[in-house]
Symmetry: C2
Subunit: 226 residues, 2 copies
């Protein structure tokens, strides 16, 4: 087992059988000690955050598997805080794909001239580059194709998967009377046919959720959800 | 004749026959006295800038008319620095539509991880909101439709017109051995059928052009071109 990459919220190891092992950590992204799913730095370390994030991720990846939605997930070990996944290649240097149900965060900062805080957005999908130095800029379907990051056909698949998965998460949260405002995903290509699959994780740290119009912190969200 | 709007580089008057008169000024956009077509403030005032800009605009709008490409242009009076145009309604609070032939400016600031300075971009089209306060954010086709600014059908027309007009400008500049790197346009809806037409102007202040790999300032560009 060989360490391949040290991420903000998890480490990635290569396994001998060609698969990968994700080691979840207790760090969450944020700024000045306040959680922010869009932040590029580790904002705080919370005891139990890694295990709670993995529990939620396991739940959603297994739910997606039942529904036939492709992911890189193989299995998870909650005690060890690890998840085994298939190898996948990210698009370019990595993209974040956001699905929005209500206008908050960077959407509102950009489009506040046309959108009110909290207004419904109907599973709106947008893509941003993972590029800390340039503030994770949004990028269009045309630019992704022109720069050789993602073909037009792949964009179509990516957008459809994003809305399908966003809707699954939204429905599952709704069962606990939690409302999903937005969520971000990562995707990659896997296998000989370059199938597009969901990668990384689905946990409180990737989404903004509200209950009775009050924002719920990731760990609290995971507690109420599980 | 009634003053309707005072812009950064021109004033707009309503005429009694329902058309509008654009009064070109000698102000150009920029920051700290240096021209920048993407800047939101008047950076400097240059004697003769208004008249030179109008001359170039007149040339291009008349060239587009000959080619059957729709604009709001009726006629121009170079001495008075005025242009008469049909009434048109902008999209939302106004959009800028950029056509890029080489990677410079905000494209490079956003996508520098994937693009080298000056690399060819094949008439790449992107749209930004006119919103000084929020730094003129880029916006996708999907977001424009969702926010009720521009329908999907209108986007298709807008993109096609942008590339057609960009190519006309590029070809005309090439005749003087000037290379167009990027250009920004404004469009609006006009007439009972809401036809999409080019509005505003096409002058040195709307584009970045180079000769022998050296950037040409707007006034110098207009001098060399005419």
């Amino acid at each position: 087992m060989k360490l391949k990459y040290t991420g903000k919220t998890k480490d990635v190891y290569a396994l001998e059988d060609g698969n990968y092992l994700l080691q979840f950590k207790d760090d969450v992204t944020g700024t000045n000690g306040v959680f922010d799913p869009g932040a590029n730095e580790v904002g705080l370390t919370v005891e139990g955050a890694g295990r709670a994030g993995l529990r939620v991720t396991k739940f959603f990846f297994e739910t997606l598997k039942e529904k036939g939605i492709p992911t890189h997930y193989i299995d998870a070990d909650i005690d060890k805080k690890t998840m085994t996944v298939k190898p996948a290649e990210v698009f370019g240097e990595g993209l974040e794909v956001i699905c929005r149900y209500r206008a908050v965060g960077s959407f509102l900062r950009r489009y506040g001239m046309y959108a009110k805080e909290g207004q419904p957005l109907d599973a709106f999908v947008e893509v941003t580059l993972k590029d800390d130095e340039r503030g994770d800029p949004p990028i269009s379907e045309d630019a992704l194709a022109m720069l050789g990051i993602l073909s037009k056909d792949e964009y179509r698949v990516l957008k459809e998967l994003t809305q399908q998965i966003g809707n699954v998460v939204k429905e599952e949260l709704a069962k606990k009377e939690i409302e999903l405002y937005d969520i971000k995903f990562e995707f990659g290509r896997t296998g000989a046919d370059n199938q597009i699959v969901l990668i990384d994780e689905i946990s409180g740290g990737n989404m903004r959720a509200y209950q009775n119009d009050a924002y719920i912190e990731p760990l609290e969200l995971e507690k109420r959800f599980l």
